[in-house]
Structure formats: structure tokens, C-alpha cells
């Protein structure tokens, strides 16, 4: 290949990503220490006010009061994203195992069926759960028939169902890939040594599929941290998460610097997860 193209071929990708991702992210960092504009937006003046706002609110007499309101939002985000990841793991293991033990043709079909809903617009998928969980919906009616009170919607449970539904394909695929590589002889060896099925599952299958589970966890946890639609529609706006908090600051609340500060906290959380994962992958490479 011509030397010129080796350079020029990558230029459009770099320009696009610098212009829409890397430079904007740097500007977010700057705006997060800028002053709030009178009519939305921001003014170029240094202040730590946006970060102060995460922890403290200003009382009647201008004194700072510790206010855990936003810490709860951050905590809720971490708990719900973590719970989503755990539930996805528990669902993906048996499902991926069953798929991996089918005939090659059946495997292709089932994996295709797992990925397909992922291509349906997020807004439509979340809307579908809004109908199903609503008071007139299928699950909502069963809930009332069983004597349940109130509505299932606008609860953390409803958000969790929506989040697991949105991100489950991202867990099944890597777990399936890991289980497929498993040597069936190892499972038989476990049986020959009088291990029960569950001992084999715990001592043979689980350790060997761990890389798949770890990869899937990253793929689920990272987007779950920044999720917006589930808290907005299924949580009814009362159950704020970081994604919705950022969205409101740039929308109706018109406090860009505070929104930028929350966005930066979210970015730092994501980067920590990605760095930990990269280090794990590097250690694994060094061992083999």
C-alpha cells in the first residue's frame, strides 16, 4: 500500500472522533469548573461551585449544609447498574450453556434470536415495558389479581426489569463464546470423579467461563451506569439516576456546569472500570 494512504486513511476517523468526542470531553471538564450562566449555558470564570453542589447545599444564611441528595443519586446509579450486571450474569449462564450444547445450526439461530431485540430502538423497548407493567398491562393485572397494591411502575424494580432487558444480549454473547470453548471432556472428567452436576458447574464450568462473564460485565455495567430512558420512563422521573440528572441539568434545570460536573464524575467511574478491566486482561496475557 502506498505510504500516503497509511497516514491519510486514518485521518477522517481521528478528525471525527477528536471533534465529536475527545475535544468535547475536554470542554466538559472545563465547563465543570465554570460559572453558571444567567440564562442557561455558562460563563468563563473559574469556580468549584458545581462540585460543591454535589455534596453541600446552601442554607438560609449562606452557610453550607451537607446534603446527601446527589450522593443518593450516585449510589442508586451504582446499585442499580451493579444489580443489572448480576442479574444479567445469572440469566446468561444457564441460557448460554443451553445454547452452547445445541447443534451448530440451532446455535446460530438462537444466538441470532438473542441479538435481534438489541437492534430495536431503545425507546420502543422501554415503552413496551411501560405498557406491560402499567396498571392495565399484562403483568400489572396479574399483580393486582394477586392482591398487589398500587402500581408496579415508577419503582426501582421496574427500572431494573427495563435495564436487564436492554443490556442482556451484551452478557449472553461473551458468556456463550466462553462456554463454547469449554472442552466437554472436562465435564465428563468431573462426572467420572464422582462430582455432582452442581459441583462440576461450580468447580469446572464457572472458573472456565469467568473471562466471558468478566467481559460481559463490562459491556453491561458501563452503559447501565449512563442509562437514561429507564429511569425517565419506568422510574417516572422520581428515581433519578446520574444519566437523568445530567439530562435535566442540560434541559429544564439549565445548570450546565453542575451537569458537566456530574458527567465528569460518571466519566471517571467509567474510566476506572475500563482501566481495571484492561489491567486484568494484561495480567492474563502475561500469565499465558
Amino acid at each position: 500500500m502506498r505510504r500516503g494512504f497509511r497516514f491519510w486513511g486514518l485521518v477522517p476517523a481521528w478528525v471525527l472522533m477528536l471533534g465529536t468526542l475527545l475535544i468535547p470531553l475536554m470542554i466538559v471538564a472545563i465547563v465543570s469548573v465554570a460559572q453558571r450562566g444567567a440564562y442557561g449555558g455558562f460563563e468563563w470564570a473559574f469556580t468549584l461551585e458545581p462540585y460543591r453542589q454535589i455534596l453541600f447545599s446552601v442554607g438560609w444564611t449562606d452557610e453550607l449544609e451537607f446534603d446527601p441528595k446527589y450522593l443518593f443519586v450516585i449510589g442508586r446509579t451504582l446499585v442499580l447498574a451493579g444489580a443489572t450486571t448480576l442479574i444479567c450474569m445469572m440469566l446468561a449462564l444457564p441460557v448460554a450453556y443451553v445454547i452452547a450444547t445445541r447443534t451448530p445450526r440451532m446455535k446460530t439461530v438462537l444466538i441470532y434470536l438473542v441479538t435481534l431485540p438489541f437492534w430495536v430502538s431503545m425507546i420502543v423497548r422501554v415503552y413496551a415495558w411501560l405498557i406491560i407493567l402499567g396498571n392495565d398491562g399484562f403483568v400489572g393485572r396479574i399483580w393486582h389479581a394477586l392482591g398487589g397494591q398500587g402500581t408496579l411502575l415508577f419503582t426501582p424494580g421496574a427500572m431494573l426489569v427495563g435495564m436487564v432487558y436492554s443490556y442482556i444480549p451484551l452478557m449472553v454473547l461473551p458468556v456463550f463464546a466462553a462456554i463454547e470453548k469449554l472442552d466437554p471432556a472436562l465435564l465428563e472428567a468431573g462426572g467420572d470423579l464422582y462430582a455432582s452436576r452442581w459441583t462440576t458447574a461450580r468447580r469446572v464450568i464457572l472458573p472456565l467461563t469467568w473471562p466471558g462473564l468478566a467481559a460481559g460485565s463490562i459491556l453491561v455495567f458501563v452503559p447501565a451506569l449512563g442509562t437514561v430512558l429507564e429511569p425517565m420512563l419506568l422510574g417516572g422521573g422520581k428515581q433519578m439516576m446520574m444519566g437523568t440528572l445530567i439530562q435535566t441539568q442540560f434541559g429544564s434545570a439549565r445548570n450546565w456546569p453542575f451537569g458537566a460536573a456530574i458527567a465528569l464524575v460518571l466519566m471517571v467511574m467509567v474510566v476506572i472500570v475500563l482501566v481495571l478491566n484492561a489491567r486484568r486482561a494484561m495480567r492474563k496475557e502475561a500469565r499465558s
Binding site: R125, D136, Y165, R197, A201, A263
Partner: protein
Amino acid sequence: MSANHDVRHYPGAGLMTTVFFLWLYAPIVVVIWFSFNENRLVSVWSGFSTKWYTAALANDALMDALRVSLTVAGIATVISTTVALCAAMVLSRNSDLRFAKLSETVVNLPLLLPEIVVAVATLILFSQLEFTNGLLRLIVAHSAFCTPFAFLPIRARLQGMSADYEEAAQDLYATPFTAFRRVTLPLIMPGVFAGAMLAFVISMDDFITSNMLATGGTTTLPVYIFSLIKRGTTPELNAISTLLIVASLVIATLALALSARAMRRA
């Protein structure tokens, strides 16, 4: 050994998988099912009707949103596929390149970062530059996050193909560009089409970025659907959602089939 004593057989796992697939498709089926409901109330079935589709097709606001979505998705697909194709060509044929690994990460960056953070970041930059044309804003932002989806199938196709063909063409005095146009491009075309279709679907379906960057008059289909949900669920909303579901599923299926076939041939 009978199935019951086979250590590879887990009782209950099969049933759980069946339930899993029912759960996976129930929401999609519910939306499609109730779009044919004659009743005004979304979840009270009272007979088959296609009147909500007639109503949807006569809805001017919906048609405007559809036009915006198709324009943005069409242009963003062309841009992102071109960018991805150039990057994939360089990265697949020059593994010794400095910054190869970094460049690959940069191309895939939109997959690693939370969309809401990127959306507000882009909003800040655009408003600082006083870049206010809603349609262009959407096209630029969509081009960026569609690029990895176009990149991955093209990259996979190129990796499955030996560089011998191009070298043979160049030995026959084809210029590098001719070799690319007449030899490489036809061979990787299934990957390029698959990537373009996935990029198109991702752009058509996007809500978060479009909602953040849209200005008056550039409401995309998912943003319009969101505004309808806020006003309350109606069967017409189900009809519109069904149209989007069917379009997404058909295009995604074509793309996946194309790249699977290309992989088998390689």
C-alpha cells in the same frame, strides 16, 4: 448414559431458556399486537383493526419526523461507512503501524463511553461554536457513533481475507487505488454493506443524542415517539413503534445474514 445421568445435562436449564426467550420477545409482540387493536385504550383488546396505521400515515408531524430520521440516517451512514472503510483498510494491512492499537481504540470509542456524556459534551461544543443547524448537528454526531458499528464487520471481513489478491493485482501493475477498487472492494463488499446497514439502524433508533442536539424542526422519529409517550399511550403510538420495530429488525437481519455468509465464505 441416559440424559438424567449425563453430567452435562442440567435439569431446569432448558425450561429457563424457553422462559428467557419468551420474556425477550414478549415486549416486542405486545407492542405489535396492540397496534392492531380496534379499541382506543391501549391494553383493552376489542377487535382487529388497521385504523391506527391509517391514522399514523396521515399524521404530518410523524411524516416530518420520519423524513428527518431518514435524511440523518442516510447521510450519517455514508459518512460513517466511508470513515470506517478507510480506517479498516489501513489498520488491517499495516499491523506494524505506530499508534495502530490507539487508532483502533479511538474508532471504537463511542462504544466505550456513556452516550449521555458524549451527547452533552457535543452539545456544549456545538453551542460554543454557534453551530445551530439542527440537521447538520445530528448528521455530525450520528456519523461519529455509527462509525464503530460500520467498522467492526468491515474489519472482520478484511481480517478474513488474505492480502495476496491485492499484491497479485499490484504485481500486474495495477495502481494501489485500482487494486482497491477492482479487487479488494468487491471482495469486502458484503462486510461494507453489513456495516452500512448496522450504522443505518443505529442512527434510525438513536434517542439520547438526537434528543439533546435537536433544535426546532429537527425532531427525529424516536424523539417524536418520546413526546407521544409523555402525552400518554395510544394505539397510534403502537402502530408507529411497530413500523420502527419492523424496519429495524428487517435491516438488522439482512446485515447479520450478509456478514455471517461472508464469514463462512472467507
